[in-house]
Assembly symmetry: C2
Homo-oligomer: 349 residues x 2
């Protein structure tokens, strides 16, 4: 599980900042005509006929990721997913990213190459142009800052504030897996500390570990909704946990909602791993986070277009604001939801 310590090590100082950027980005391709100028000037230049969407996220070693079980290539891939997911969550298309990294002298060139191999795989798979960034040293650890840029027609953009009473609440894919994958990896890390010779068999957790280490952003959902001729009234991605995201939509739309415990889409591996860890699967689904699924609302008239689609689950409906944000349990009890999203400032240092 740990890095191979015998790999070739080339110091970053040998290349310098400009040499490093050139070296790391030499095999990246430009996919979009909207990318007028990529890396190599004071700014990148983009030409959009439509609206331009911008989002940015930090990933800090020791806060957002742990390199003792996160391979660098996976980290690079995931860092791109985390950002472009926010563009898809506007019902838009992601087209460009900038990538800035700060790394301590602990990392040789070969480690940064691994990180960029993951970034490149993500760019190739999702047709994203890498158009800029910054590369510098840090006094401790690795910090990644990515800005994603997308485009959409003005009337296609889905904000968080457009949900209306009676709208259906829809979720793509399934949730809770990424959080449980992290629990398995954390447990194996503890086992490894006690017995470094132990070779864990993680086969039975393959889906949830992949959800944690190599999540996929839902590029397909905005496309699917266009094909179905459905315009979401609001949309958000599930990065901090379903409860937290539902509360964002309801607060900004000035509405309430009921979601139904029995409708929450859970993978069988999520259910079995919850049993093994003695966790409540509904709590995991509501508060887990990091699934990068899309949560959105659609007018009730569109139910026929949505129902039965294997990518989509209708999990509840929007209500008036004074009814609050509620989970209706299997026992038909109504429970008020609280945001239990992740707060990096509450982590132990």
């Amino acid at each position: 599980m740990l890095e191979d310590k015998n790999k070739q090590r080339t110091s970053l100082a040998e290349l310098g900042e400009f040499g490093l950027i050139d070296h790391l980005t030499q095999f990246f391709k430009i996919n979009h005509e909207t990318t007028v100028k990529g890396i190599g000037d004071d700014c990148a230049v983009i030409s959009h006929d439509n609206e331009t969407l911008i989002t940015t996220d930090f990933l800090v070693e020791g806060v957002h990721f742990d390199l003792s079980y996160m391979p660098l290539k996976h980290l690079g891939y995931k860092a791109v997913m985390v950002n472009i997911s926010d563009v898809y969550a506007m019902n838009a298309e992601a087209e460009q990213i900038t990538v800035s990294i700060a790394v301590s002298n602990r990392f040789p060139l070969e480690a940064i190459e691994e990180l960029y191999a993951g970034i490149q795989l993500a760019c190739d798979t999702y047709k994203i142009d890498l158009i800029g960034g910054d590369t510098t040293s840090s006094t401790k650890g690795m910090i990644i800052s990515i800005t994603a840029i997308g485009s959409a027609k003005k009337d296609e953009i889905a904000y968080r504030n457009g949900a209306k009473p009676t709208d259906l609440i829809v979720l793509s894919g399934d949730i809770g897996g990424a959080y449980l994958g992290l629990q398995v990896l954390e447990r194996e890390k503890e086992v490894f500390k006690v017995n470094p010779q132990n070779q864990p068999d993680l086969q039975e957790y393959s889906y949830i570990i992949e959800r944690q280490l190599k999540p996929e952003a839902r590029k397909d959902i905005p496309k699917l909704l266009k094909e179905l001729e459905v315009k979401p009234t609001s949309m958000i991605d599930v990065s901090d946990g379903l409860s937290s995201e539902l509360i964002h939509i309801c607060t900004q739309s000035k509405v309430g909602c009921n979601i139904y415990e029995e409708k929450l889409p859970l993978d069988p591996q999520v259910i079995s791993t919850c049993e093994e860890f003695d966790l409540d699967s509904t709590t995991v689904a509501l508060s887990g986070g990091e699934d990068y699924e899309l949560l959105f609302t659609v007018p009730i008239k569109d139910f026929d277009k949505i129902k039965g689609n294997p990518n989509l689950s209708v999990i509840g409906h929007i209500t008036e604001e004074n009814e609050g944000v509620n989970l209706i349990t299997r026992g038909n009890q109504s429970i008020k939801l609280k945001a239990q999203g992740w707060n990096s400032f509450n982590q132990e240092r």
Copy 2:
């Protein structure tokens, strides 16, 4: 020179990430019609008829700044300048920024408020809209990542690769001051370590210290050039030092150049401080960096429009590529210039 340790301290964990962003950004105004949606959704939305320009930079504590002499408000201001300067360096207008910060628990809320007060002052002064960002904890120190967004008409954008033989090389303002300001501050830091009661009188260094602690980006230059009806054939900002930037322009434009030692614009305080520190003022001007002036080339036919302008100095001219990148000394010797820009990976850790 050091922070007052008795200030009120509010822990960041008390507010949480969303509360913190709301608190810090509550007094920022939106200036541009192109900003369709600012903070508060998965993405910001911008509507540009013209081309969109994007640039991003990291500022890492202990690598790019030292809080023992850089007040946080100045740091916030400078962080914005560093980024929007890259937009002006495309002959474009800066309109929006995103600001991401990662901070350790060492920083109370009041410190982050100071940083944002500087960011806000910069935004107000330069008419920049803060449209997004990320706020998280770090395991060590403060890291700031800013992305600046600008716009320009397609045919007004100045890249690095358009310089032609016989073009004039023009520099805004004067150079070398920021580097010397840093030397003075570093010296005072050493004095402070030995004698914390010492109250330094830095009056005679006020200009160069301001160049280091509170640089101004040259928003006025693209505007001035439009008024003069001059389209630069190439352009770059002087962040890493004049030599390094000249080499960027010449390499990308496939040309050479001659610049003249006697034409380098130096403030009297730069000259006197060089004497005091026993430094060669030409070396400081060529390699100092961080001045955030604009370096550009214009067709020789535009000389009459440029000459005599107090904001602009013609420092040389573009030659054929095989002639190389040269400094012509006061003694009429030709010396080949080397890039001696700053490489963060070569710093001592």
